[in-house]
């Protein structure tokens, strides 16, 4: 099981320059909402931006993490 701060740490490692916010959507530690503001998204399509977030959480997504609501932004 992952906590909000575990998810936040995973994302911060991949987006060290960015601003990362994580909430537990259901209180069950498996549905998270994340907002990432990062330069890395500049010029990328939404799909490519979300793929970067998927990559940051790796295999946790679909295992420990059942659902991930993603919002991406550039600063």
């Amino acid at each position: 099981m992952l906590s909000v701060s575990d998810v936040k740490n995973l994302l911060t490692k991949h987006f060290p320059e960015g601003d990362v916010n994580v909430v537990d959507l259901t209180g069950t530690s498996d549905h998270f909402g994340v907002q990432v503001v990062s330069q890395k998204f500049e010029g990328l399509s939404l799909i490519e931006q979300h793929k970067l977030v998927h990559a940051a959480v790796g295999d946790y997504l679909t295992n420990e993490i059942h659902a991930l609501e993603i919002k991406t932004k550039t600063p």
Binding site: L46, I47, H50, H54, T62, A67, L68, I70
Partner: protein, 105 residues
């Protein structure tokens, strides 16, 4: 039998397709429900596949699209995104424009 070729056939054989958890009448996940709602608001017919119908659907879909989660929406054979991307594009009006263009062909 499900494999990525069958997924490709469905995606290429329908202008608007969604793979989701549950049916439009009875979605089994909040994210899938949201995708169904958006598609219904577009006002075009769409094909839906309930991934719970067969345990082979999800892995076949993921292999086809290289996207790990459901729902997954495809328009004109192109992967549009999961529920977040679809909702964001809908709110900006981009999805409606794209769908109208696809169905006008």
């Amino acid at each position: 039998m499900w494999n990525k070729e069958r997924v490709a056939e469905i995606v290429n054989g329908n202008k608007l397709v969604v793979f989701a958890k549950g049916t439009p009448e009875q979605p089994q996940c909040g994210f899938s429900a949201r995708a169904y709602t958006v598609l219904e608001m577009l006002g075009h017919p769409f094909e839906s596949v309930n991934i719970f119908e067969d345990p082979e659907i999800r892995p076949s879909l993921v292999e086809f699209s290289q996207w790990p989660t459901t729902p997954q929406v495809f328009l004109n054979g192109e992967f549009i995104g999961g529920s977040d991307v679809v909702l964001e594009m809908f709110e900006k009006g981009e999805l409606k424009t794209k769908a109208d263009a696809a169905f006008a062909q």
